[in-house]
Amino acid sequence: MPIEVHKPGLSTTVQDAGRNGYYDVGIPPSGALDQYSLAAANHLVGNAPHAAALECVYMGPEIGFTEPATIAVTGADIPPRLNGEERPLWESFPVAAGDVLDFGFAKAGARAYIAVAGGIDTPVMLGSRSTYKLGGLGRPLAAGDVLPIGKHSGDFAGRVVPEELRPALSKEVEIRVVMGLYDHVLAPEGRKNFLGSIWTLTPVADRVGFRYKGSELELIERTPPFGAGQDPSNIVDAPYPIGSIQIPGGVEPIILHRDAVSGGGYMMVATVISGDLDVVAQSAPNTRTRFVEISLDEAMAARRDYRQRSQRVADLFA
């Protein structure tokens, strides 16, 4: 049954596993930026892993419950409080009619996921409940919103994701990348600097992209190809993969995330491997980041490991 939004937080959105299949016509997948934490939150309350939950960033919302429910909060260390009393993260707990959930200051990470047994039951748009703000598919929550909750059965309170299956949240991270498709535009020194520098996440970081500061990268000298702009980092327009890293002008790399535009004219020098997109999602401004090059085979192995880890959470409650 419905929950009421008292205060929306900074930007709280309904997100599920995403809206796949429309990127070719410009509609990005959206969905939870940290897919592991979304799935874990859902498992904790007995939902399917792809069910819709609330994603909040840096600051939690304040929401009221009109009926008893089971909820869980995962992801960033933004401590939940029920009627002012702190509740654990990564554990499901019951709420009663009239209870109010709010949050303390973010201690680590960037994005928390609030799952409710039954799932957030807002309308499905193109196969997903995920909010895509730029495209007008849903919008961030506002005070006074009432969110319907789906049907559920069973009592799932008291489920816990053990420590070793919770992601490490750090202000110093390594993000694994596969180089390409346009890394040939980097001069040898520029390539060395891209992989050797410490990059600091700027406050310009949202669901579309994450912008980093660090060194300036040397590019090769070349005549721009026909159809490309005049900046040395311009290419003939090409599709942008989710996780691709573009470097306009050779300064300030941007990692595109799940609300990204589908294409454009900046060289992409590398792509973040799928499992490490969660690490990007949990990066707060000032996070010191190193890009680590791995091969495609290593990336495939990392994806297997990531899926196995997610499966271990599912198996806990099967």
Partner: protein, 82 residues
């Protein structure tokens, strides 16, 4: 008189003034009410006011203007009536 730290609610760039051409929101020695804005934090391309939260007198800023702050980090120090 007891001191009260005004904390940044979110991470981002802290600004002491609404725009480069305007004076600072508050100055040391100035009295403020709970609802007064003492600064801004910019994150995700938008600006969020930081409110004093309590009535008091501004002692000092705790961070430089345009520095990057973490959530829960003190940005302004107030003296409040004990």
């Amino acid at each position: 008189m007891p001191r009260h730290e005004v904390l940044a609610p979110i991470p981002g760039v802290f600004y002491r003034r609404p725009d480069p051409g305007s004076p600072e929101y508050v100055k040391p020695g100035q009295t403020v009410t709970a609802d007064d804005t003492v600064g801004l934090v910019e994150v995700m391309k938008s600006f969020h006011p930081v409110l004093a939260g309590v009535a008091g007198t501004v002692v000092d800023f705790a961070v430089e203007g345009e520095s990057v702050v973490d959530p829960g980090q003190p940005v302004v120090i107030l003296e409040v009536e004990g």
